[in-house]
Subunit: 616 residues, 2 copies
């Protein structure tokens, strides 16, 4: 291969290039007019133009005036509606705000002729009703809570444009009329004037295009801000906010918008447009020149083009659930990283098929869990213990957690046992408390598998696992030695006891001896840097196993640290004694070397099988 | 572990149990009335009740009268609309049928007052306009094409209820009026009567609840029937059909339906309701008693309850793209399964970091590919060759394929090379034809990695890879032997030439010799059954490598077949000569055994590293 430096040039992200290209393309578009119903809105540079895309894993693409601030205006409607859903619940909110599209323009009054209820929260009437439901003592507290709510969506403290607010307040007679009509139908509480004022000020909150993309990405990300990791909206209300954005967000153009662009969206007369591709990303455009319906001209075009170029349509969805099962196997095929005596490994291999391990990944929604339930049911007949590894899982929603509990109960009732590996408490362990005995929790998959293997060995191998010393002549290392040879060896072994927490072998050292673990177990850690304390547990050894032989045989340095997690007892065979053996007892030396070879062939076989199972 | 047979009982699928429970619960609901606008519709058993759920991977849950047939009625509107989109394209169809919700009931006339265009395809006017666009010579051909189209959705030949058809035809004056109005506005071609008749007959096609679930699952599955694997609708039209189902499918109740149930859906007065959870599943309910709006009472309740219990809301979506990258590594960490000489392995390990391997999985939609592009860009500086494994990928849509091409071009322009592993031709290889030299295609990842390794070795190891015989004294097996010892060994080796296509070792045989591959390469296959011909390629060996040593050393049977894919030359060291060595030249035998040990320790190290990399 050629040298890197000679042939390779720095590369830009392909998507950045395309967004940049779109930006350059629409830069020349001068169509539309600035909003002028209040003079303050004409103070903005009509040439301003920004595009931002924010992914649910927190990556931002941005171009142009992405950081320039403008007033949020009608885009606020979606966020305040979500806020009152979180605060009061759907049963209370739906009494005052409907969810049917009005088919009319944004400032239409659109109250239900019988009840006076606004048809939906995306028209001004519904939005004022939402703002009216934000609780707090007086104007400052109510507005303060709204500002704080939006700021949590944006991941930064958002400012307010006071001159726009004052101007809206001075001229907002139509909205005052709507508020009084709402009050007339008891869709708004007293004081009416306070609610309208809070609404005006909410519309004057300043955001940048990047802020809007981040805010949209919170809606795309199930209510968790990808930037801060904070939950900003209850997950059950995400689908409600997105529903009204998709059916009513673009007013009388909503059907067409979903059909062609396919992103639940909201625009404002400040020049911003915000769209959500659920589960994937938030998109925002900013350009202050508006079309006659009050939407940003360049913003709308950028949305259409992004959607077309990247096929971002809401209903262009991946078939998700094939990937929920990362890997499925039983302990006959893939085991823990614990190195054991051959007889123990053989027992696990022979009897391990009754332990099924299912590693899950991604967010667990219904049809993902459906695949898991199906895989579990299919294997139920031949399985005694199911190990579910949730450590790569994003989240369970309430519905799927309930379903998981139902399945767990069923499994326990059918006489199965469950092991749930869940370091991050993705499921509430308390919820499983009725199933004591049937369900165990672990933090680490390897440790869980080791425990399952211990059980298999305890059930199928006569010799007990613990408490007594494994006699030296039981070690595979000394297989086929005669009684006389064994007694020669015995004279060459030392017995060493080490306390819990001792380091047995230090990575990088020259090897002095082979260890035969007579009692207890040790863990192997690989240190990453030279003097670094950062280390990774790579395996463990149980009683009856010899270790440290490889470095002794091939003369390399110790490749890892070995620590005693509990008090251990070892026999050691020193390098010097091994040389003495070679000089004085070549027959014995030959047998020991042959045993080391067989030991490593056996390790190799197991390792190859595992590679095969893992690559399959 | 306890014995399986004693403790474990057969287990039912948890989801089946819950659907069964729902079925039992709503069985007692007697609300609603049979449709009676034509007498034939009252001939059905009012107690009939079925629920079906069909997943995108073809699994069916069904309960009750799931196989009982009834007329499809208005549910047909979604399918004929999709059919004419496929046939004529959106530009033609949108001239005659809009996509805005009417906010009115199903039989409202709802034509645009200016153009006479029906507001959307889910009201009768739009549906008759759709049917009018189905091409064909005369009634029989036009209806026949519709029936065939629906049958491909259902995965079986659907029958027709002729008495319902005749009755609809006899009484359908309102629909005839609509058709003539459409003709008046030139939204329908002559002959008007034929279009209405085809429409009546289309509504009389018989489906079962299971059929509807399968048909819905085609819409959920991107237009491919999960049952037959056949594409039944163009993928670009899926999002269009689902869009109008979601905004207009439930008439003036659509906003509320999406808000609370959250599934694009369609119901018919035959008692059927069909819903789609995109990417996940199709749902259907059947029960003939209708509410005043003409929807199946039990059907609607089952949908609400299924959606609530399983949280099936459209906007309750998983964050999908974290799973697109199944695994990412470079050739320093994980290599091909090819066993090579130590010096070659070392070269790959030392220089392999410039080959980055990215294994993808799932359907590749924008934000999935976005993650891939990001991962690629991040690694561009230190990478010379990118290997993309697409063998676990579902599909690329046109937009993401375009994006992949852009990235590929950029990579090639920056001096990188690409290897695309794509057995199933998920991407059109022709589209990459401008990038000759920069992009290579392989069917098998392992073969692709082997080729990359060959290149690394050719660039970094002096000795050429092919053409000349590796001399026996260069084999690691004879390391550290003196000249005299080597000549002793030479006398014990045989040289064997084998033709391409020969079996070198047969699985299950007793081992007779160790092979030293002097020229060519061999592949290792594991046969699954005893006499079975089904075999799996597990690895390969290159020139300079010895194989067959393990079975000779530990006396086991051959564990796999070894085949020569090309003409090869081997040295062999027989078991007899190995014994002779042990008797007559124990010094040499000791060295050879030690070398076998070192060889296997080295294999074990590599294998363990791979397990670590694969489990990480």
């Amino acid at each position: 291969m050629a040298l890197l430096a000679e042939t390779c040039r720095r590369m830009d992200n392909t998507i950045s290039l395309i967004i940049e290209e779109l930006f350059q393309h629409y830069r020349d578009c001068k169509e539309g007019e600035l909003a002028d119903y209040i003079p303050e809105l004409t103070n903005v540079d009509p040439e301003s133009f920004g595009i931002s895309v924010f992914t649910t894993d927190g990556h931002c693409y941005q171009v142009g005036d992405s950081l320039q601030e403008f007033t949020i205006q009608s885009i606020s409607k979606a966020f305040t509606y979500g806020m009152v859903l979180d605060e009061h619940g759907i049963e209370v909110v739906e009494k005052r705000i409907g969810v049917e599209p009005s088919g009319e323009a944004f400032n239409s009054i659109s109250l239900d002729p019988e009840t006076g209820r606004p048809l939906n929260p995306m028209i001004n009437a519904g939005a004022i009703a939402s703002t009216g439901m934000v609780s707090g003592e007086g104007f400052d507290e109510r507005f303060g809570r709204i500002l704080e709510h939006y700021s949590r969506f944006a991941g930064r403290d958002l400012p307010v444009d006071d001159s726009v607010y004052r101007s809206e307040s001075t001229t907002g007679f139509r909205n005052r009329a709507i508020a009084n009509l709402l009050r007339n139908f008891e869709m708004l509480d007293d004081p009416v004037e306070e609610a309208v004022e809070v609404y005006f000020k909410q519309c004057s909150i300043l955001v940048s295009c990047r802020d809007l993309a981040v805010m949209a990405s919170c809606l795309a990300n199930g209510g968790v801000n990808p930037l801060t990791g904070e939950r900003v909206l209850q997950s059950s209300n995400i689908e409600r906010v997105l529903s009204v954005m998709s059916t009513c967000g673009m007013y009388d153009y909503s059907g067409e918008w979903i059909f062609t662009v396919g992103l639940p969206a909201k625009s404002g007369v400040g020049g911003g447009v915000m769209g959500v591709l659920p589960g994937q990303l938030g998109v925002a455009g900013f350009s202050p020149r508006l079309d006659p319906k009050g939407n940003s001209v360049r913003g709308m075009r950028v949305f259409s083009e992004l959607s077309r170029r990247f096929n971002l349509h809401l209903f262009n969805v991946p078939v998700i659930s094939d990937q929920v099962i990362r890997r499925i196997y039983n302990l006959s095929h893939v085991g823990s990283r614990c190195q054991r005596r051959k007889v123990h490994h053989d027992a696990v291999r022979e009897h391990g098929a009754v332990v099924a391990v299912i590693e899950l990944q991604g967010d667990i929604f219904f049809s993902a869990l459906e695949r898991v339930i199906r895989a579990t049911t299919e294997r139920a007949d031949e399985t005694e213990v199911f190990v579910f590894d949730l450590n790569r899982v994003g989240l369970f929603d309430e519905a799927t957690l309930g379903l998981l509990l139902s399945m767990t109960k069923q499994l326990v009732d059918s006489g199965k046992r469950l092991v749930i590996v869940d370091q991050g408490h993705r499921v509430d362990h308390e919820r499983f408390s009725g199933l004591e005995g049937g369900v165990r929790f672990y933090k680490d998959l390897d440790v869980a598998l080791e425990a399952c293997e211990d059980e298999i060995i305890a059930a199928h191998v006569d010799r007990p696992l613990v408490d007594e010393l494994v006699p030296f002549h039981d070690f595979d290392l000394f297989r086929d030695l005669t009684a006389a040879e064994l007694s020669t060896i015995e004279g060459m072994l030392e017995m060493v006891g080490l306390k819990a927490g001792s380091r047995v072998i230090r990575q990088g050292d020259k090897p002095d001896e082979i260890y035969l673990l007579a009692k207890g177990s040790v863990s192997i850690f690989h240190r990453v840097g030279e003097d670094s304390e950062s280390k990774r547990r790579i395996s463990s050894f149980g009683a009856g196993v010899c270790f440290g032989d490889i470095a002794v045989v091939d003369g390399s340095r110790r490749s890892a640290d070995v620590w005693a997690g509990e008090a251990i007892t070892c026999y050691t065979l020193s390098v010097d004694n091994l040389s003495r053996l070679q000089q004085e007892f070549p027959e014995i030396h030959g047998k020991v070397m042959r045993n080391i070879l067989l030991l490593n062939i056996d390790r190799l076989r197991r390792s190859n099988l595992e590679v095969g199972a893992l690559k399959a």
